[in-house]
Symmetry: C2
Subunit: 239 residues, 2 copies
Amino acid sequence: MSNHAHHHGHSHSHTEEHNKFSYMIRDAVIGLSDGLTVPFALAAGLSGATDSTAIIVTAGIAEIAAGAIAMGLGGYMAARTEVDQYHSERKREMLEIENVPHIEEKEVTDILEAYGVPHDHALLVTAALKKDPERWVDFMMRFELGLEKPNPSELLHTPLTIGLSYVIGGLIPLLPYILYDSAQSALPISVVTTLLALAIFGALKGAFTGIDRIKSALQTTLIGGLAASVAYAVAKMLG
Amino acid sequence: MSNHAHHHGHSHSHTEEHNKFSYMIRDAVIGLSDGLTVPFALAAGLSGATDSTAIIVTAGIAEIAAGAIAMGLGGYMAARTEVDQYHSERKREMLEIENVPHIEEKEVTDILEAYGVPHDHALLVTAALKKDPERWVDFMMRFELGLEKPNPSELLHTPLTIGLSYVIGGLIPLLPYILYDSAQSALPISVVTTLLALAIFGALKGAFTGIDRIKSALQTTLIGGLAASVAYAVAKMLG
């Protein structure tokens, strides 16, 4: 039960801590999975076209900067849109309750009757909701529209966590190119290090999301490896 | 009302078409926003370090290939995880209903009482749910856990839409570098073309998500422009 404790609302502060942690994990997973994959594949790809690590490091760091900003601000926009949409839907739902209460009442009974609740009993629930429009709106948001109240502190945390994770993930495959002069020497070290990092990341991700760790490790490693192989082949063809 | 018609279930086939279209828009937005931003910023960044369009085109195409695969397969994994988690949560919820029905009954009454439904009336709903365990589980999935039944056809559509949108988005900023020999000639054309594409994309995205179009256009243009400027500055410093 513990990993859906936040739906019960028994302990509010525990709930919020739990949510914050889940969001942070989710954001770190988004940043790391792309950070470990795309700069890795780009550097491997460029190794197929040039032996100069200088140009690979420049391209890699430019990609990391661009990717971290694009993904971080993209995460901010997604969180922002979620907050805005929640409030605009809530406003509309409130107007509907005020202007066409009979339609909204029917929506409540329809929802409950779909689960086998008899019409007369569903009407009792409607009667209770009608006493408090604020709670009625909250009920419609959750049970009609399936929308959870978004947490505004995510607007700051989400872009920072995604951006930072992308930078950390992206520096791992790039490090061998920074340390070596020849791309042909750096490439195998980058491949081994990054595939290992992808496997560890996949296993940890599996542990947090409740997916089998070995399966999850294989998936992340395969995606990274496939992206890098295709990038290498494409660049070799062009370079 | 029409843009949350899929929550009412009046017309099943209309609902499914509507959902498919929303998913496609969401996936195209994910692919296009990163595709228009990251390869654009990378090409701009490399223009700060080299005048050879050959290396920029190679890096750009390697990035597009890597990004499309990483994002497409990432989208597949996310959809896969959603399907798996839904089924494993449903199985657990069914076990809880079979083994600790009194706890689950209390969860139903707690949910309804939180919206002001009197205990006695909440018990009537519980009594109705108890008659059909399948519907009871569906009720808990939706109203306790807030989970929607995922659509398995997304497993194929999501990666294809994201990947293809990333490729289309990424080729727009790269085209001037393919057509010109000098990066210094290609850069300003790429900047103008891509910022325009970002503005159009932002306005369309705003129209689909119900956000103000001008605000949305400014946001996407700003993110792309910022990412490209930072990548340019970083590459100039290193190159």
